[in-house]
Symmetry: C2
DNA sequence: GTCTATAGGCTGATAGAC
DNA sequence: GTCTATCAGCCTATAGAC
């Protein structure tokens, strides 16, 4: 079906690999939905194929096994995670830096709730895939940034709050808007969380945490 | 096999219903473990029966279906949830009341992590079972307690922080110690979270949130 | 009340025609 | 490269002997 590249090796339309790339992307996107909604065991390759609009056999053709597909989805999520971590350095202003970090994490919860839920499911399951990442990359990141927070505290820019537990607070308060979305909608009586809800959330979390850490603004 | 009650109706050993009650309890406990570790779809009745030390057929004999067993587990969890909510009333002292509430929620995360994880799984799945509870009991609780927080704010006892979002902060920061236990152990480099870790967590969350809400102590 | 044996359905995965 | 047809295994649930 695909039209090959011409004699010069240049790519025309439907070049080999184009369909492949598009189908892989379709499957990955569908898989993200289904894994987020049903968890690893609850997700079926049939449901993923249906959502992608492809026959089930193609899922196995492109990714081999369900487990490999899950890994591919997890990998794409981890990339996003690292981006969201952003820069926290000694010279930057605590209020601005932490405020920006909190808002970035919250925006991520809003824009990529599926990624957040898959991550949450993976951790609750005991992180069979992500265990290494948590013990290396994430741990190193926290160690590194903790140093910065301690320097801020020494310089009198903030209270001496335990850095690791402070990060746990920031992560949990922001991720809960993706993972526990249903609960918040029920409590707030919304069909969907609105712009205003997210603004109130951002303001509440930022105000409480910055003030709670003794960071002047 | 069971020895019946004697002629006076008094219960001797192995009275009818004793075995039933004990086996039901064994199955419920096993189910809590397996549902927490694997999620609803990942849990199998065989795994639950194995952990309970009973043949698989007994699970169905006592609870009928897997779904009914899951509901029974969820019901027992919700009872615990409501207990943990405790009393927050207008006359009580904000610092003491909220501090106590935060510590109670954190203690619950430590003592009943399985219940917390099952609850988290249920919410992430879209709360098929708990939806009604969230929209009624939980919503009413938040509405009720929000009134108290607003009164505290009007009386100058705390900042006018949005009550619902403040509760979301308290829930997420405390529950994360159960749900994301693996992540914290990886970051802190622990095999298990220690007494000291939980004390640091309690102090950090309480200090930041109370100070962040402008509650004097 | 208990438990073995088994039915019936769904799942991940693949063979093989196109 | 694509997709239909199909398999082997596991899952929930139950029938029926004890």
């Amino acid at each position: 079906m695909a039209v090959s590249a011409d004699s010069a090796g240049q790519v025309k339309r439907n070049a080999p690999g184009r369909v492949r790339q598009r189908n892989r992307a379709k499957i990955l996107q569908a898989a993200e939905h289904v894994f987020a909604e049903r968890g690893y065991d609850g997700a079926t390759t049939a449901a993923i194929a249906d959502r992608a609009g492809l026959p089930k056999a193609n899922v196995h053709y492109y990714f081999g096994t369900k487990s490999a597909l899950y890994r591919a989805v997890i990998d794409s999520i981890i990339e996003l995670w690292l981006e969201a971590f952003g820069d926290i350095s000694e010279d930057s202003d605590p209020a601005e830096t932490l405020g920006h970090y909190i808002r970035a994490k919250l925006a991520h919860s809003r824009e990529r709730p599926l990624a957040s839920r898959i991550f949450a499911n993976e951790i609750i399951r005991g992180a069979p895939i992500l265990s290494d990442y948590l013990k290396t990359d994430l741990r190193d990141w926290v160690t590194d940034k903790s140093r910065v927070l301690r320097q801020w505290a020494n310089a009198g820019k903030m209270d001496p709050v335990d850095p690791a537990h402070l990060f746990f607070m920031i992560w949990s308060t922001t991720q809960t808007y993706a993972d526990f979305d249903v609960q918040m909608r029920a409590v707030l009586g919304r069909q969907r969380l609105t712009d205003e809800d997210f603004e109130t959330a951002a303001a509440t979390i930022t105000d409480v945490i910055l003030k709670g850490c003794g960071i002047a603004r």
